[in-house]
Symmetry: none
Subunit: 220 residues, 4 copies
Amino acid sequence: MPRIARNVRGTLSETRRTQILEAAARVFARRGFDRATIQDIARAAKLSEGSIYNYFRSKEELLVHIPQHLVRPLFIPLVEGDVPETLGEAEEILLGVCHGMVARVQEYAPFLKVFLSALPHLSPATREHYMQLLPTYAAERLERFLREGIRRGIFRADINVEIAARLLPGMLLLFLMTQEVLLVHPIVAQGYDSIIPEAVRLFLYGATPRVLTPRPSATS
Amino acid sequence: MPRIARNVRGTLSETRRTQILEAAARVFARRGFDRATIQDIARAAKLSEGSIYNYFRSKEELLVHIPQHLVRPLFIPLVEGDVPETLGEAEEILLGVCHGMVARVQEYAPFLKVFLSALPHLSPATREHYMQLLPTYAAERLERFLREGIRRGIFRADINVEIAARLLPGMLLLFLMTQEVLLVHPIVAQGYDSIIPEAVRLFLYGATPRVLTPRPSATS
Amino acid sequence: MPRIARNVRGTLSETRRTQILEAAARVFARRGFDRATIQDIARAAKLSEGSIYNYFRSKEELLVHIPQHLVRPLFIPLVEGDVPETLGEAEEILLGVCHGMVARVQEYAPFLKVFLSALPHLSPATREHYMQLLPTYAAERLERFLREGIRRGIFRADINVEIAARLLPGMLLLFLMTQEVLLVHPIVAQGYDSIIPEAVRLFLYGATPRVLTPRPSATS
Amino acid sequence: MPRIARNVRGTLSETRRTQILEAAARVFARRGFDRATIQDIARAAKLSEGSIYNYFRSKEELLVHIPQHLVRPLFIPLVEGDVPETLGEAEEILLGVCHGMVARVQEYAPFLKVFLSALPHLSPATREHYMQLLPTYAAERLERFLREGIRRGIFRADINVEIAARLLPGMLLLFLMTQEVLLVHPIVAQGYDSIIPEAVRLFLYGATPRVLTPRPSATS
DNA sequence: GATGAATGAGTCTTCATTCAT
DNA sequence: TATGAATGAAGACTCATTCAT
């Protein structure tokens, strides 16, 4: 049935690949990589088993290609070219980044589940391939954001940018992992509307009391 | 060959079960639940395949029983009864907590891998059970630590303790997950000796300059 | 792309068939019948898989039809109408026949390999079909050659022509099979230049010492 | 059902291997390597498919191991230590050798079919291995036979023994191959009872008329 | 006629589980 | 209780053949 129009050559092929990968992602998410069968995926893609092999060489290749097709949107930069001019602006931006991150993880939770359970046991090559994409991508943007902020005196000059850019996402990760991926009852009743501001504030101002607000005489 | 003294009836049985579960945990960690075979486990336990079925009804039952035996030590408190008296002391303690956390994850990485690979097979109830242990346990201790610190004026009074107690572990989680569990090349060359102080400092003092630096009408 | 001039109706079809059969023969020779895929053959013929089925009903049909096109030259008579007048002449002719046979087997070795490996598993009808062609054809010529030789007193009158006509080719067969078809290191270092004369001499004069060479009052 | 007694450890295993290899040889002979299925072989061995893999790692391994178990008897010498004292004795012996050869090929025809069908899949090394056994073995014995005969003046002194020892088996090969292995209707109606004497006579006396018949005190 | 994507039956192989000893 | 051979269901993957375009 899925005999698709001819003219669109090349596009058809791309369409099929997407169709298959989307099905694979759904099935992997539901059953886990090892328990998902090609037949499951074929059915989900409304294709025959054989057809899948016209587009991908193996089941593992399906897994490897899922992010390329499906998760790409996951990596559309959260922090565009935004450069913070004031601290308030920085806070604004970071709140936005965090909300975006949460929304995205929520949206892609099923896939992330597969990802987590399958990855540790796949070939090192496959693992590397994935990891290049995932947290790195997000972090690189944040690094630039921090660097710009430092240049403008908004952030401490002695921050290790490389590390700090991963600390903020990390803060949310524990919540996201447990609630969205592992599907455990909410840890914190208030939800992300409380968590995110708290995280951003901690990230910007720390846990210790500001000295009378940044106003008067130095650190003393 | 594993013919163990008979007298200890009941205990022998318990010994065998432990012997098998420990082997299973090792194998699951190395290969993932679905890829681990009963033969693998039997060999690791220095028993025959058939014998395993004298103690457990199925492969899945092995999985369910693992934590009871092996994971308990993972939850020995990181933050004992420590109560911080000064900021410096607090910093000291947090550094210790973080180092402990890293060490423990490194030690239990294999088990965490089992946990992840097993996810698709765990019932929601079992998942809950695990998660109650894992980050919750650690967090509860930190909550008390923060509350005491607030009472002593070391920490901001407006901190949401419940959340903040999870933000610090979270900060490290991203590094731990990628490096220890997913086994990807180190993100940050310097290793945890750089990461942990950076995280603690950020947690305590935030990313913005302390007072008097930010001098000139910061936000203004 | 293989759109060939139309006018030659019927001939075009024949061209295509030859094109396909030649490709099939090459592929069969390289991979063996069962391991050769239609895709292999299609590629070798620079056609699509589907097109092959416009000319042949099945893969097996390809095999059956190969000799008709390709092997025919294998059967161009080795022994033309030659009639031996003297023993010396007969020897001359037989040497020529043997050299021709060797050359041909060497040329067609790849095909013979397919033939040998595929044949035992084909339908009896197909097998008969092949066998009519192969050794029979060659033998019939030799039979006439022998009969003429006997009539002229060159060969023993009590020879069973039918059998003897197959004994000479047989002599070479062992060498050809092992060296050309099975590709084993040469049995006899000297090569066919030693083997052929030896075979012909044995065929003509046998292994026992001639009594004073054929000198005296012949058989008469 | 094939649960065999325990005590014979090691022997049981060997028994099973033989049982499987014999079944495999039969099936390969009937269907060819590629067309034989593991299920066929399992059924022929009265075992389940899975059991086969307890003894051999793959289908190909079955092929490689067949000769070791089954073909050995094929190579029990045809020409014992026999040394011909007179021409008549030599003829006697050669007739015996030929009959033995035919009988053996007939007996092992199924295996030879396996061998042929498997050819494309054998590594050059394996092919060599086989071929060392097959015609070489038989030929070596004949070589000695001929040498002894020459020393006794029974055979021509100018015979190339190495070659001649392969010409006699070769003579029969064409018949054997076509009739026993390729299973084509008999070429020569009379069967081997005519063919063998004809071949031996041709080998000994050649196709040309004897001068005065071998009169002069043959061995004498 | 030519194409090549779609199909699905058929294969090898793995592995949890059973059970005779 | 321990063993490990036997089992057979299940799954990844191949490929001859069909057929819409």
